[in-house]
Each structure stands twice: as C-alpha cells, then as structure tokens.
Amino acid sequence: MTKTSTPGRHRKLEGWPLVFSILVTISILVGGAAEFIPMVLIEENVPRIATVTPFTPLELTGRDLYIREGCVGCHSQMVRPFRHELERYGPYGRAGETIYERPFLWGSKRTGPDLSRVGGKYPDLWHVRHFEDPRSTSPRSLMPPYDWLLRSELDLTNVSTKLSTLKTLGTPYTDDEVASAERTARQQAAEIAASIEQGGGPTGLADKEVIALISFLQRLGKDIRAAGITAEVSR
C-alpha cells in the first residue's frame, strides 16, 4: 500500500517475488482479522438467551437431513428487523439463537418463505402431507415433492457420534445425553408419529426420515418464544 505512489520503487518490488508475496499476504489478512477477532473476543456481540438450548438428537438428525436436501437453497432462516418481515414471519433473528448452529442455515435466497419461525405454525400431519405433495396443502406451490422421506428409513446409527462431535466443539451435551442419543431420538420419533396417527395421518412413520425433519422444523423459533420475545409490531 505504501508504494502505490512511486512506480520506481514498485518496479524494484516487481523483482522480488518473495517480498511481493509477503506484502500481498499481509494486505489480505488485515481485513479478515479486523472483522473476525473482535467477534470472537467480545462476548456481548453474541448476547445469550437463557431459553436457547441445544437440539435434541432427533432434531439434530432432522437438521442434517435439511442440509442434505439443500433446503437452504430456497428457504432462509433469518427474519430481518423490518415491519413487513415481522408481520409475515414473527420476531427477527437474534444472534443468541444461533449459538448451536453448526453450520448456520440462514440462507441467501427465498424461493419459498423463511422457516426460522415455522415451529408450531402447523400440526405435524400438515408437514407430512406437505412433504408428500406440497400442492395438497399449498395449492399453487412450486416446491418439489419429497415423498421419499416418508418411505426412507431413519438412520440413527451415528447420532451419538454427532452429539459427541458437537460436544467436543463446545455444545453443552452431557455424557448421558450423548450415550442415550439413539434411545432419546427413538422416543421423540414415536411421540411425533403417534400425534400424526391421532390426527388421522399415515401410520408407521416412527422410523422414517420425515419424522426427524418435522421434529427439526417444529423446533424452529420455539426457544425464542419461550423467552417471551414476540414480533413487537405496533400498528
């Protein structure tokens, strides 16, 4: 940067590839460091919200399915603090909500609506029908069907490994939670499957992938509601 005004001195630099490369490296590191280091060091940049807890084993499995199917390509999970977004979706996204998101799934394009506040908006059965055939619940929808999720087996073989990996990275799972992850997941899946059956939906979904995905979607926005944070729209 300092040599910009003097082509003569720059000319010299052009004969020294090593020095040139070192100067380039410094130039590109400054910006990233200046933005990222404060983010890590200053705790208040990510204010904690007491009701935000780690995902359950089943929700985590569902989240990984959400990643596998590339849902993030069409659905954001970050409501912006505008009145029209609060009206449409609910409370705007807080930093404290995201502390267990590995990776973050905020997205960059809304071909479908934002999903960060979708938890509890529809019954479990609605989601089953919607995945099977989106147009059965939303007549003009452009979303492709995900009917195979109702048929493919839910794979929970490495859910304990998933939890322990996250635990290593800092998510506060207890050793018990890690060890019993698969059992906990099966339990939660059975509950959701039962609620679907009670609502008059298909039976035998407890060991299908769709259940995990629904558990994840129903979780979205729940923590922040528990903290009493609302959309705060004033008319």
Binding site: P17, V24, N45, V46, G70, C74, R80, E87, A95
Partner: protein, 490 residues
Amino acid sequence: MPTTSVRAEASIKPDMEVYRYDEQIVRMFVLATAIWGLVGMLVGALIALQMPFWQANLGPYLTFGRLRPLHTNAVIFAFAGNAIFAAIYYSTQRLCKARMAFDSLSRVHFWGWQSIIVAAAITLPMGITTSKEYAELEWPIDIAIAVVWVIFAVNFFTTLRNRREKHMYVALWFYIATIITVAVLHIGNSLALPVSMTQSYPIYAGVQDALVQWWYGHNAVAFFLTTPFLGLMYYFLPKAAERPVFSYRLSIVHFWSLVFLYIWAGPHHLNYTAVPEWAVTVGMVFSVMLWMPSWGGMINGLFTLRGAWHKLRDDVVLKMFVIGITFYGMSTFEGPLLSLKSVNALSHYTDWTIGHVHAGALGWNGFMTFGMIYWLMPRLWRTPLWSDRLANTHFWVGTVGMLLYVMAMYSAGVTQGLMWRAFDEAGRLLYPDFMETMIQIVPMYWVRLVGGLMYLAGMVLMLYNMYRTIKSAPKDLPDPAFTSPREVAA
C-alpha cells in the same frame, strides 16, 4: 513462433540456452474448461427449468436443492477454475521466459483438479454437503483441494524463481494474490470436525460461522473470479489488441487497493441479520470503496484499446473481451450498490442477487474465457480457427442470452421485493400469502430459462468450433522452443 524450434536448435551456441514451454498442459486445461463449462451450464439450465416447473425435479438425486450446489461448483471451480489454470500456465511461462518448473506437478494439478470435480459431481447429488455456499464439498474433498492447490502453488512459485525476466508483469501480481488468498480462504472456512467420512460440523457456530462463510464466499468471488481474470485480461487483452496496457501506474494503484479492500467487504452479505451492526456497516463502507479499484481495472482494460477500436469490427476475441470487461464494470458498480443497506433491504433474498452474480459470471468470467479460448485455439493447435463466423454467432447468441437472463432476474427480484414489503391502507400486508409473490414472477423464470439456453447454445457452438479446429490440427505439436543468453554465474 513454433517453427523457430528447429532453427533454434540448429543455431545453438554454447553461451545460449534453449527452453521450451509446456503447451500440452495448456491444451488440457482449455479442453477441460470447455467440457466442464458445458456440464455446469446444462445443470444450470435444468435447475432454471425446475424453478417454474416443479415436475422437472427428479427426486431424490436430481432435485433443485441438491443440484444447485452442483451447478455453482461446476461453473465456478470446473469451468472458471480450469480457464484460469489455462491462462496461468500459458502466460506465466511466457512472462517468466521459463517452462513450468515441474511437468509432473502440472499433471498432478490437472488430474487432481479434475478428480475433485468428478467427486463433487458424485457427492453433491447424493446429498453429501456442508451447505456452506461455494464450499459445499465435504472434508475429504476439501483436503484434496488444499493439497492440489499447494502443489499448484509450489509449481507456480518455483517457476517464478526460475524466471529469466527480472520484473514481474502485472498479470503475475494478480496470479500471486489469487494463489495465496484462495489457499487462506479455503482452509480458513473449511475447518471442521468430522463425524464420518461424509459429514462434518464446522468449528464455527452461528454468527461466527456466517461471518467466516461470507468472508470466504465474498472473497471466492474476489480471488477466484476476479483477480485471476484480471491477470488474464492483463496478459491476453494487450496481446489481442496489439497495444500496451493503458497505464502502468493505474495498474499498481488498483492492484494494491483491490487486494487490500476486497477482504473487508464480506459482511455485506449479512445486512440486517443477527450479525452485529458494526460488522455489516464496515462491510458496506468497504464495499463502496471497492468500486474505485474495480473500475480502475475496467478503465485500464478498455483504454488499452485506445486507437484499436476499429479492430473490434472483425476480431471476435476483442469483441468478447470488451463485453467481458464492460460486464465487469457493470457488476462491480452493482455490487457496491447492493451492499448499501437501503438497497439491500429490497434486494436481499430475491432474484436480484441471482441477476447480479450472473452478470458477473456470464459476462465477465464467461466472455473473458471465451475470448481467451478463441485467441488460444489457433496458437495452441497451430491451425486457423475452423470458423470465425460461428465464433461471431456465439458472441451474439451469448450476448443476447445473458441480457435476457439478467433483465428477467432484475425485474423478478425488484417485483418480489416490492411485493413482500407492500402494505394496504389498513396497514396489513398486501400479499400475506408468500405464494402470490412467487406466482407473479414465474413468467420471468421462463424468460431466464430462454436466456440461459441461448447462452448454453453459444457454448455448444464454441465446442463444435473447437472440435473442428482440433480435427484439422497437425498431429505433432512439439513444445515451442526459445533461446536466450545463458546466465553466467557471478
């Protein structure tokens, strides 16, 4: 130029040394560029069809969600990637007056990179993804990318050390910045803890993950799709125009300011999200500053044609370059504009962003690549291009195609953005049903598909032209040889 090889050897003197450029590796990268370009754009056309026509989603493997990262990875890392390697391998040898330092590493680089692309083409439709944009590949492939990149770097920097030309030309500065920064970005953003061979969790969470991802994502655009293509421009444009670069001083100023400023701009992808206000404001301010060095590059490119504009009439290479540089200027003006919070409030999450990136990708990266390939074909295969007329058709089909594409996306983006925020007189959302805002822009999705298909058709014309040119090329293509005075040990 190539015919000198025999004569050079015949007239060899003890105080002269003979060296040959590796042209085979450049031919390989050129072919890979064209083939992967076709694949990447075909996938693009399919997902463009899937948006207005959901029946085109053939689940589970061929759904929009799984194919979108395949499209972006194929066009960025396979099409543009191979193009920049072709440019770097061709021009670095000439600018350094030295053969690439290690033929073996050049081959490992080539085949390693193609294997990575094949691995991406297999794993992404299988749903093996990190979901981080332009960094979707899982950790084993990430490690392979890092290894191949380091091999490339070793080969490149050793060639720099072996150079017979004292001063490094501006194209080489941009290549240096590319190689260093892509390594830093890729490694920094890919740090993750594996769960299995096909899955990992990033070491960053939430807000930090978002910031690191867009530090990477934005600078992948900067150092994979901008700096190497500026290097390409600085080498091939003066060659094609037969004019020196407009301003040496401008190239120094815009190089250093571009390299320094670009990195800061990442957070503008996160305007109005949970990322702290100060970070996105810094990102926005630096994005606006970035406009100037970007246009420094455009001006240096376009003004290089001073006194040579008449050549545009019948030189398809120059026409391609001029459209490419013009689109670079447009998208680097649009970028700072979109980073402004008030504009971003409207544009974010809409197709405006898609229009913006395609102005850059189709216009700048695509047309600079096509121009380079049309310039290289007769030189690398030592036979005239099979059809200049066909190349000219490619130029027009491609230009009209991408104009349709970006216009459709701009109008779709602005329309939907305005509908999302519209209130009625009673203060209620005018379009509370999200679907309404989507149905409105479906016609624009069809226009986009037509534009994209036209661009793809141009690509097919180029491939056919290449095929016919190569068919009539001589069987034997020896590496061109050059002589220069032997360096005397001091």
